[in-house]
């Protein structure tokens, strides 16, 4: 339901997109019911909602990928029927997906003109010079600093986004949809992107901005629309909202205790790492984690946090250092060794290094645990399903059953499949690398609760995260990394996020 006040405020002349009464059904599931969505020209419009709320479906309808059962789409005052992606593109809609769509081996200019190359004087030969010139021209108009002749695979992530934006501009887009654009960017790259988005807005383009990171929306968006369970529950100016209010709309309930309290009962030292160095840039790291303790690890992208985990888990070769678990020295040269010694590692990229997406949920959960659950020689599928279902119920995974392929689950539930895996392994030392990345607010909170439960069971937890608020909300101590070294070991109750950021970002004056 759109607040009538906001609706009146948007007069037709300044409306670039008006979707009215959109409904979409997948089999028995109603993905969108009677959704109306209006975007003003020259604004950044944030579209938020939990995973499964219908954001992707709505945007796929706008992109001509899905056809709605009901509703109309009006673009720049003209009613459009978008029955395929090419028609949406022609109507001025450009989508920039989370996984960018670039041809990595081609240059910036070639990517920008992909599919609409300028013909040269000879048949089948394109006019490279003109393409490069026009790319440079448009980049300059928007103040983008990019070389049209660079090959895309040599660009940093942030610049790849720029190429996508240039592609959209070259296709005369009037509405650009950005899906989680900052999810793989560093802080500085994200800041650059925000500047670009603002530049686009000044030129009269409308940006539909989808993000889980509410903090960035506050500073960037003019308007916010919130989807919940396939319905538009709020649409209005950003100025009238703040993060708690947005979260309230998203989940339909207050998240008073966003970081749930924990019965902290810290015991004896469980994990003892000394002078750990690896081939992959980790230098002389030492720390302890006690029973029931959650130790956070902060640092900028590239500070070597994941590399510490990889060295501990036997993925990267150690050049020096020792690991002790419960006062026992561990010899770890492979993930197989690490798992046998009750270490768990939930990797940051669940699609690349975590899950076998097309395989059943149950197979993914038991993959490292077949021996542990007594299926060393013969797998008993019935018993396997039962074991996995038990654990899935315990952490309330939403799925179609243990035999459903993992890629039929939402991001948050996929992450829970991986957590279930390590719960089943009964690990004693658990490393979580960015466990809340790309999952929605509700699922995040559940992950925090799970971390707390695991700590209460006496596990030692290393919690790597780029989001300082969650480190401060969850961790008992925070280790700070910079350039492969440990530069701080702080108590979050006695320090501030600014101080930790300072430690992580600034060279010590020596």
């Amino acid at each position: 339901m759109i607040a009538t006040t906001t609706n009146n405020r948007l007069s037709d002349t300044e409306t670039s997109l008006r979707m009215t009464g959109i409904s979409k059904q997948f089999g028995p599931v109603k993905a969108l019911s009677d959704v109306s969505f209006t975007v003003r020209r020259g604004t950044v419009h944030a579209l938020v909602g939990e995973n499964g709320a219908g954001k992707s479906t709505l945007m796929k309808i706008l992109a001509g990928v899905y056809q709605p059962e009901a509703g109309t789409i009006e673009i720049n005052g003209k009613v459009q029927r978008l029955s395929k992606p090419a028609e949406a593109l022609a109507a001025g809609i450009s989508m920039i997906y989370q996984e960018l769509d670039l041809a990595e081996h081609l240059t910036v200019a070639e990517n920008v003109f992909l599919g609409m190359e300028l013909p040269g004087r000879l048949l089948f030969i394109m006019d490279h010079k003109k393409m490069i010139e026009q790319t440079a021209e448009i980049a300059q108009r928007f103040n983008f600093n990019i070389n049209p002749t660079t090959v895309v695979e040599e660009l940093p992530m942030g610049d790849c986004q720029v190429v996508e934006i240039l592609k959209a501009l070259m296709r005369k887009a009037s509405i650009i949809v950005m899906d989680e654009p900052t999810s793989s960017l560093s802080e500085t790259e994200a800041a650059m992107l925000f500047k670009l988005v603002k530049a686009l807005r000044r030129q009269g383009l409308s940006i539909i901005y989808i993000s889980h990171r509410l903090e960035e929306i506050v500073g960037l968006a003019d308007d916010v629309s919130v989807l919940r369970d396939g319905r538009m529950v709020h649409s209005g100016a950003m100025a009238e909202l703040d993060i708690p209010k947005i979260v309230h709309h998203m989940v339909g309930r207050e998240l008073k205790d966003f970081f749930p309290a924990r019965n902290v009962n810290i015991g004896a030292t469980r994990v003892k790492v000394r002078n750990l160095s690896s081939q992959n840039g980790v230098e002389d790291i030492s720390f302890d984690i006690r029973k029931g303790e959650i130790v956070g690890m902060a640092g900028l992208v590239g500070a070597g946090r994941t590399q510490v985990a990889k060295a501990l888990f036997g993925i990267d070769r150690k050049t020096s250092g020792t690991i002790e678990l419960d006062e026992r020295h561990l010899e770890i040269n492979s993930p197989t060794d690490a798992i046998a010694n009750h270490i768990a590692f939930l990797t940051e990229d669940r699609k690349r290094t975590g899950l076998c997406l097309e395989l059943p949920c149950s197979w993914n959960v038991t993959l490292p645990n077949l021996v542990a659950i007594g299926m060393k020689n013969i797998i008993k599928p019935g018993l396997e399903s039962k074991i996995v279902t038990n654990i899935a119920n315990r952490i309330s995974i939403k799925w179609l059953g243990p035999q459903a392929p993992v890629d039929s689950l939402s991001g948050g539930n996929q992450q829970k499949i991986l957590i279930a895996r390590w719960l089943l392994a009964q690990s004693k030392f658990m490393i979580f690398d960015e466990p809340t990345r790309g999952i929605d607010v509700g699922a995040k909170k559940e992950v925090y609760s799970l971390l707390n439960e695991l700590a209460e069971e006496g596990k030692a937890i290393l919690f790597i995260s780029s989001e300082l608020p969650e480190l401060f909300g969850i961790a008992d101590r925070i280790l700070v990394m910079r350039r492969g070294r440990l530069v701080g070991n702080v108590n979050p109750k006695e320090t501030t996020q600014e101080e930790v950021m300072h430690l992580a970002a600034v060279e010590a004056a020596q």
């Binding site: 997948f26 990797t347 690349r352 997406l357 097309e358 021996v371 797998i379 895996r421």
Partner: protein, 320 residues
């Protein structure tokens, strides 16, 4: 549900072909002899296809199976002659059979080692060994076959009215189907094919699994080689030229994905039988072998296209 439907598709086509031929040529097609004949002819391809299925599920490929079959047969026959003289019998044949099979295992292991230890793509490794194994087969007896007139049992032997080779084929299908579904190695094969990095991070010893998969394929190739040798009562250095393509076709028609993580033994069995019955039907209908090639090519493409279509329909039904 859609999974079942996809399984049914090749199976349905198989039934359709059998019905069609039964109606058209009831007196020559619909006989026990003809069916046993088709099964016997399928057995060599089918046995090798079992190994190929596992390799393809692991996201690999083995182009060397045809050459490997020739080499295993040649080595086996060479040992028979070495021990039993120019006209070997009895124990010499048994020992030669054993050595031939071991040769297959050795060749498969070599493929596996090259793929894992040198970290080369399976396509390249087996493209290389395809040529090497074939070359060795030619060099062994200066391009000539080894004749073993008494080596008939594997081809002509019959138990309870069923040819030995068909029984071996059935046994290997059953065993491999079981292992792929109920053993850890089978499970790991799917995991590696679906996402090798994820399998590694979950503690799967990827290298050791892959070596075992390639070695086991070598084992079944060795067995198939000895059946082929027995059929011709001689080991031919030219045996199995372009065989790998027929095998891959059977596996793919059976629903396996060349990008890994997907495939079943039962599907491969159906794929193998489908090709065999097509060949048999063409022969009975007096369609020349040249035209058979055209038909089989079309079937491969149609089978995979329909499978893809069903898959993308199923994917469109999912969301988020």
């Amino acid at each position: 549900m859609s999974k079942l439907a996809r399984q049914l598709l090749p199976f349905g086509s198989l039934i359709l072909i059998i019905c069609f031929l039964s109606a058209l040529k009831p007196d020559t097609f619909l006989t026990t002899d003809n069916f046993l004949n088709v099964l016997r002819r399928s057995s060599v391809n089918g046995i090798i296809a079992v190994g190929m299925t596992a390799i393809i599920i692991s996201a690999g490929i083995d182009l060397s199976v045809g050459s490997m079959m020739a080499l295993s047969g040649m080595v086996g026959a060479w040992v028979m002659i070495l021990i039993g003289g120019t006209n070997p019998q009895g124990a010499a044949l048994v020992l030669g059979t054993f050595v031939g099979i071991v040769t297959g295992i050795a060749c498969g292991s070599l493929n596996g080692l090259l793929v894992t230890k040198l970290k080369l793509p399976p396509f390249i490794v087996t493209l290389g060994t395809m040529s090497t194994f074939r070359g060795i087969s030619y060099v062994m007896n200066a391009g000539k076959p080894y004749n073993i007139p008494h080596y008939k049992y594997l081809n002509e032997g019959v138990v309870l009215g069923i040819p030995i080779s068909v029984l071996i084929f059935a046994f290997i299908i059953a065993l491999a189907g079981f292992l792929l579904k109920y053993s850890r190695l089978g499970r790991y094969t799917y995991a590696i094919g679906s996402n090798r990095e994820a399998a590694f991070h979950a503690g799967v010893n990827v290298d050791s699994c892959l070596i075992r998969i390639y070695a086991l394929t070598g084992l079944v190739v060795g067995i198939a080689a000895m059946i082929t040798t027995s059929r011709a009562v001689s080991a031919q250095p030219t045996a199995g030229v372009t065989l790998e393509l027929d095998i891959i076709a059977a596996v793919v028609i059976g629903g396996a994905s060349l990008s890994g993580g997907r495939g079943t033994i039962i599907g491969t069995l159906i794929g193998t039988l489908l090709i065999s019955f097509l060949r048999n039907g063409c022969t009975l209908l007096d369609i020349s072998t040249n035209v058979q090639l055209i038909v089989i090519g079309a079937v491969i493409i149609i089978a995979v296209a329909v499978d893809q279509l069903a898959r993308s329909k199923a994917a469109a039904g999912q969301f988020e």
